[in-house]
Symmetry: C2
Subunit: 136 residues, 2 copies
DNA sequence: CTCCGTGCAAACGATTTGCACTATG
DNA sequence: CATAGTGCAAATCGTTTGCACGGAG
């Protein structure tokens, strides 16, 4: 199964890279539609899947939420904001995490691990100050 | 808002504990239905939410998948099988993970982190041997 | 007797799929 | 010109919600 570089695939890839953000399928769809108004959301989904399998983009599966896609394929971790759900990059010193020790438990063959850092982004911290604490 | 201990809530809690597994809402629904056939899936969802808020059970949000609920509220981590999606317990030596170092990046206020270990469970390793490698 | 909780069905958000058509290599 | 990719609509999956009724405290 060979990959064809269609117009829509090219634009999807270009717009994700241009954004320099971790967009969800529908956020990217909105951007791509401005350039190619007749594109379908299904095409965006299909291409994001294909592009991430091909290793051209990264796929982020944050617990319990919508998937997001990463323009940056290099090795790094992410932090996400519990308030606005934005995702940012984070460089973890991986030698702080001793994977081998985790290893043998329960007879599993460990194939990988993800560290998911959760926090509140600068913008949301600022907003939280403005609106004292009637949140919830 | 006080909690009432209804029959359905009691059975849901009991069956989850009895299972000693990390069940999803619909898996638990199937079990509870055997005892109380007219119970609705919505009731199971509502109660699992309430019980986990009350701290009587744990809620696991594994990346991109269905939520699972934990009979064991004590502090521990999880490992999940990429093949069958089963979840098992794992005790991580948390001092292997240096949270403070992760800290300041990007101006986020860090509220927590999850370590998600991914692997293949013993059963699936065994199956993989039997069916050589025509998978995919 | 007050409301929290229930069952049911419908609504929901994210994602996937079947189909006939289009266009890349 | 074969067949990967597209647009569209409908389907699916996990979960939530509105509503009228039922039962715990």
């Amino acid at each position: 199964m060979q990959l064809r570089m269609t117009n829509q695939r090219e634009i999807i890839l270009r717009e994700l890279r241009k954004s320099r953000q971790h967009l969800s399928a529908d956020e990217l769809y909105d951007r791509v539609k401005l350039i190619m108004p007749r594109i379908s959301l299904a095409t965006v989904y299909r291409n994001l899947e294909i592009l991430s399998e091909a290793g051209l983009i990264g796929k982020l599966e944050i617990s319990g939420r919508q998937k997001r896609f990463d323009f940056d394929v290099s090795d790094h971790d992410h932090i996400y904001c519990v308030v606005c759900h934005k995702v940012d990059n984070l460089i973890i010193e991986r030698n702080n995490v001793n994977v081998d020790r985790l290893g043998t438990a329960a007879g599993y063959a460990i194939t990988g691990y993800r560290v998911e850092i959760v926090g509140i982004c600068p913008e949301c911290q600022k907003k939280a100050k403005d609106v004292p604490k009637n949140i919830e």
